[in-house]
């Protein structure tokens, strides 16, 4: 039933792209790309633990990503080598996750599905979870939009204006963990960071306000997942990587056009 799984895949792809777009902007503005990557890698450990103890992969991924992101946020400012620490923590958890999964006997587990996603296998339950995630992230980002922007520009200015930067930062951390978790089925833990950063980076060259950048990023993200999905079907290529390739193409085209015609960057 072609229609069926393609429809489900489309719904899942659109959902994850939408959730990733506004958050991706913050990741880019705050130079959190590496932070996001480490958070995503930590999800692999969560997956392994949830497979071992047989509970929801989604819950496991969110939990471990959140622990990872929160402890790194806690260390921020206290440690001088945050960058190194992120590398250590992120890669250790993905390695540990892969090792633990190999111990699980009985069920044969397709690791690639977790690393680069398996969008064609999403269930109705997955779609529901993805859209719940979209809902949470959208409400969080829209509700906290102004303070989030202010904290992104200067935590001191935000403090002086009566906001609590720690609270706003946690909103970002929480959203990041949710995006990573719901994105696993679609693009996997290795590529979810691409879906966060590339649409936002592409939108930068045409956007003139933070809001328009978020909206354009969302449009690019959705187009990428639609085109990528169809390309994958047409050429029989892996879906997650195909989606990311299309997004990169958007980035390449928009940035080139911008450099040659507007010189805005």
């Amino acid at each position: 039933m072609l229609d069926d799984f393609m429809t489900r895949a489309t719904l899942a792809g659109i959902g994850v792209s939408l959730a990733a777009a506004p958050l991706g902007c913050f990741v880019v503005w705050r130079r959190m790309a590496y932070f996001g990557e480490a958070t995503a890698h930590a999800a692999m450990l969560g997956i392994a633990i949830s497979l071992t103890f047989e509970f929801s992969v989604l819950a496991g991924a969110i939990l471990v990503s959140l622990i990872m992101a929160s402890s790194v946020t806690f260390l921020e400012g206290r440690s001088l080598f945050l960058d190194t620490l992120l590398g250590v923590a992120g890669h250790s958890s993905i390695a540990a996750g892969l090792v633990i999964v190999s111990f699980i006997s009985g069920v044969r587990i397709d690791l690639m599905a977790y690393l680069i996603g398996d969008i064609l296998a999403v269930s109705n339950m997955d779609i529901l979870m993805i859209w719940v995630g979209v809902g949470i992230i959208f409400s969080l980002v829209i509700w906290r939009w102004s303070p989030l922007l202010l904290v992104t520009m200067s935590e001191d200015l935000a403090s002086a204006s009566g906001y609590n930067p720690k609270k706003e930062n946690f909103a970002i951390t929480l959203s990041l963990a949710i995006v990573v978790a719901v994105g696993i089925k679609v693009v996997g833990v290795l590529l979810i960071i691409a879906l966060l950063i590339i649409p936002a980076a592409s939108a930068r060259s045409v956007a003139s306000s933070p809001e328009s950048m978020g909206i354009i990023a969302a449009v690019i993200g959705v187009l990428s997942s639609l085109l990528g999905l169809n390309a994958a079907y047409l050429f029989d290529t892996p879906t997650g990587p195909s989606i990311v390739c299309v997004a990169s193409l958007f980035f390449f085209i928009l940035t080139t056009v911008n450099v040659f015609f507007k010189n805005k960057i």
């Binding site: 880019v28 503005w29 705050r30 130079r31 206290r78 102004s146 922007l149 202010l150 992104t152 520009m153 200067s154 935590e155 001191d156 200015l157 403090s159 002086a160 204006s161 009566g162 906001y163 930067p165 936002a200 980076a201 930068r204 956007a207 003139s208 306000s209 933070p210 328009s212 950048m213 960057i265």
Partner: protein
């Protein structure tokens, strides 16, 4: 009384940055803080706005104190597109952010549509000051706000600050590295070096041995060379 700081200590890790700070600030006062690099001036500001935890002592602020904060600098990532207008409208919780008011504070509307990232140093300083004034602050914190301005720029900036004080009676606490211009306009000068070295009226501070020990005797020149040791004594000799 707007702010009362009593026996405040601030530590970064194990390093004590501020020790036993005492400071009171009333409406309409202009107080200037001077001190060498790394002496804890900015840290004091961060403690006042609540951006860093304090390890000892107390900072009392008047309930619902409206603070206007002008940071030393503002670096926004190149990837964040935001116009001056949007930036200023983002300023504070629940406040009148009408375009007319913003224009009046900026002095013109020619900056409104410029991207914050493309502002020059002087323009940025105007924008940051306008931003700090949007909520009719009762106290204005200026952290080396004259950095990057030429001499006429500094002079007119200080005139502006004095006018603001005179018309709104807000208190002004400013950090300065520019010694002789500050001298003329402030009620009190506090010389900080991890602790309060000396304080008082500008003239008395300028002639005090502690101040000279910290900045050298040539206080009204443009060069105030100093040797600074963390365990300095106030009678230490100055090598120039």
């Amino acid at each position: 009384m707007l702010i009362k700081i009593s026996s405040l200590d601030v530590k970064y890790g194990y390093k004590t940055v501020l020790k036993n700070m005492n400071l009171t600030l009333d409406s309409g006062e202009i107080v200037t803080i001077v001190g060498p690099n790394g002496s804890g001036k900015t840290t004091l500001f961060k403690a006042i706005i609540g951006a860093i935890p304090i390890s000892k002592g107390k900072i009392y602020t008047k309930p619902n104190l409206r603070i206007g904060y002008v940071p030393q600098q503002l670096k926004i990532d190149q990837t964040l597109p935001i116009t001056v207008e949007r930036f200023l409208k983002l300023a504070h919780k629940n406040f009148n952010r009408s375009l007319d008011k913003i224009e009046a504070l900026l002095g013109s509307k020619d900056l409104l549509n410029i991207q914050v990232n493309n502002l020059s140093g002087g323009q940025m300083q105007r924008v940051l000051l306008a931003r700090a004034l949007i909520n009719n602050p009762e106290i204005l914190l200026l952290d080396e706000a004259t950095r990057g301005l030429d001499q006429p720029g500094v002079a007119s900036f200080y005139r502006k600050i004095e006018n603001i004080r005179n018309s709104t009676n807000c208190a002004i606490l400013m950090i300065s590295h520019d010694l002789h211009v500050v001298m003329s306009s402030s009620n009190r000068v506090i010389c900080v070096n991890g602790h309060i070295c000396c304080e008082g009226a500008p003239e008395s501070v300028a002639t005090s041995p502690e101040y000279k020990a910290l900045f050298g005797s040539d206080v009204d020149g443009t060069f105030a060379l100093y040797r600074h040791h963390h365990d300095h004594k106030h009678d230490s000799k100055i090598e120039r």
